[in-house]
């Protein structure tokens, strides 16, 4: 397991602690192995990514599988992200009203809600929800196919598994994340307005007009379309973890867990970079 430093860390974080404390010397002794495993993991991910890019840009294109995956990632995630968005909208509405009232800035409510949903909460919540649902599903499905030799059977049938299985899934995630984010944002704004309207009369037209007053496309579009990068991360990590699985049922479980943990982690880390990038290029 020394070659899987990142996975080991992910699995350790997701597993309950045994309560046993490793001696410091043992931890230090494993450091070179973990260090090697860390770089080996990134190296393998790089090779995997290159193979997927090569497969994705050369014909034949797997349109039918892509459409199936668009449905799998998009349509089937829609109810979940809509519900999450609705809940976030209510929570933000309650919190924002309370905070703004304290500072006598209740008139800022619509803009606060719109900006916090579209610029921060919507993209991240959508990314994490899809990472949980799609990342685990893809990781487990591909891992199961790997351990039952179905991926070998695809390759033996002269079909490139990177094109059929990985490129289609990753592309579906890239295309669907921004659309799902728009759905999350819409639900959050709708329920956020509704929660406010129950307390104080506020027309939806007024809420939207005040919320988007003075806003430009550059304030919202980059934040929404950055989720395509989240999609890339979720699809890539889930396919990579699934297609390199070894070790039967335990391996399948490990692949599913690692897919979710690593995709969520990298998604949040990527957000740090993306936010800075957007602030620089879309001030």
């Amino acid at each position: 397991m020394s070659s899987r430093g990142l996975e080991a860390t992910a699995a350790a974080n997701s597993a309950p602690s045994s309560g046993r404390i490793e001696p410091l010397s043992a931890v230090a002794g494993n450091a070179p192995k973990l260090f090697n495993g860390f770089f080996e993991w990134f190296g393998s991910l790089g090779i995997f990514s290159w193979r997927v890019i090569q497969a994705a840009v050369t014909p034949p294109y797997e349109w039918r599988e892509l459409i199936r995956q668009l449905d799998e990632v998009g349509s089937k995630s829609l109810p979940l992200v809509a519900m999450a968005g609705a809940a976030i909208g209510v929570i933000l509405s309650l919190e924002a009203r309370y905070s703004l009232s304290r500072f006598g800035a209740k008139s800022m409510f619509p803009a606060t809600l719109v900006y916090s949903v579209i610029q921060v909460m919507g993209p991240v919540i959508t990314g994490l929800i899809v990472s949980g649902r799609v990342g685990a599903g893809m990781g487990a499905e591909l891992a199961s196919m790997k351990v039952t030799e179905q991926i070998d059977a695809i390759e033996a049938s002269a079909i490139n598994p990177y094109r059929l299985l990985a490129a289609t899934r990753i592309l579906a995630c890239i295309l669907m994340l921004p659309l799902l984010t728009i759905a999350t944002d819409a639900c959050a704004l709708l329920t956020g307005w509704f929660a406010q309207a129950l307390v104080e009369p506020l027309s939806f037209h007024q809420f939207i007009t005040d919320g988007f007053n003075g806003a430009t496309f550059s304030a919202f579009l980059p934040q929404t379309f950055k989720t395509a990068v989240y999609g890339l991360i979720i699809g890539l990590i889930a396919c990579f973890q699934g297609m390199r699985t070894r070790g039967g049922a335990a391996g399948v479980g490990r692949a599913a867990t690692n897919s979710v943990v690593l995709a969520s982690l990298f998604l949040i880390l990527a957000d740090v970079v993306l936010v800075k990038f957007i602030l620089v290029f879309f001030p």
Binding site: P60, M145, Q150, D152, E155, A156, A158, Y162
Partner: protein, 262 residues
């Protein structure tokens, strides 16, 4: 393992194999995690010939098949199909060679999200795009009939027996009309009647299609029924190859013990 035997390798008869063997495995070494599985193995198979590869568990029989179809790469040595060395070929170029090879996995490896019919249609959908849907359906039904499966074609793989799964796997392996057939334990886990039926089926296919075949098996009875030549692996190399009679007449200790125990 453990017991040391005097191993004398008997090479394939060059006339039988032909000047240009269809499959040529030359001096191949393969290790996994420091454990050597194949130890300089050489095996050649000619057109229309069926070679059964026998040996104890863990002697690299399945690894040999995976090397021939390019699912594994040798540490050293070469694997050639129709004289084309597989080393360094990209996935797409390798794909062109794989279209000529049918592979039956030990577990059948059917796609569990597809029906029996869809499993067999899978290679046709990807490589015979010139076929209309009705032509493809007819071809799938013909293939399934050929392996004795006229009914149950809309069932899922998990709903059919192990023997039926092997038949479906065989039909899928034959879909692209391969010139080479690789069978990994085709009768493993089957009752004697099902095993006999699979053996009959393989013999029938050999008569009709004249493919170069490699059959990995533990089943000596199956091997002598379906194969003209037997290769017995020991410690990652061919201990002896020849007809069943050649094996019976061998003085090699390991060969005698293997035949006695089988």
């Amino acid at each position: 393992m453990g017991t040391a035997y005097d191993i004398t390798v008997k090479q394939a008869d060059p006339e039988r194999v032909g000047l240009m063997p269809v499959i040529a495995v030359e001096n191949v070494y393969k290790s996994f995690a420091g454990h050597r599985v194949l130890n300089g193995i050489t095996l050649r198979v000619g057109r229309g010939e069926t070679v059964a590869v026998l040996g104890r568990s863990g002697t690299g029989k399945s690894v040999l098949l995976r090397l021939i179809i390019g699912l594994e790469k040798p540490d050293s040595g070469s694997v050639s199909i129709h004289g084309q060395d597989l080393a360094g070929l990209g996935l797409d170029r390798m794909g062109e060679i794989r279209k000529k090879i049918g592979f039956l996995f030990q577990s059948a490896a059917l796609y569990d999200s597809l029906t029996v019919q869809e499993n067999v249609a899978f290679p046709l959908e990807h490589h015979r795009r010139d076929m209309s849907k009705s032509e493809r359906t007819d071809r799938v039904r013909q293939l399934l009939a050929e392996v004795g499966l006229d009914s149950n074609i809309d069932r899922m793989p998990s709903d059919i027996s192990g023997g039926m799964q092997k038949r479906v796997g065989l039909a899928r392996a034959l879909a692209l009309e391969p010139e080479i057939l690789l069978l990994d334990e085709p009768t493993a886990g089957l009752d004697p009647i099902s095993s006999g039926e699979i053996n009959e089926l393989i013999l029938k296919l050999q008569r009709e299609r004249r493919m170069a075949s490699v059959v990995v098996t533990h089943d000596l009875h199956s091997a002598k029924t379906i194969a003209g030549r037997l290769a017995l692996l020991h410690e990652g190399d061919v201990a002896i190859e020849g007809t069943f009679e050649d094996l019976q007449q061998s003085d090699i200790g390991f060969v005698k013990e293997f035949l006695k125990q089988s």
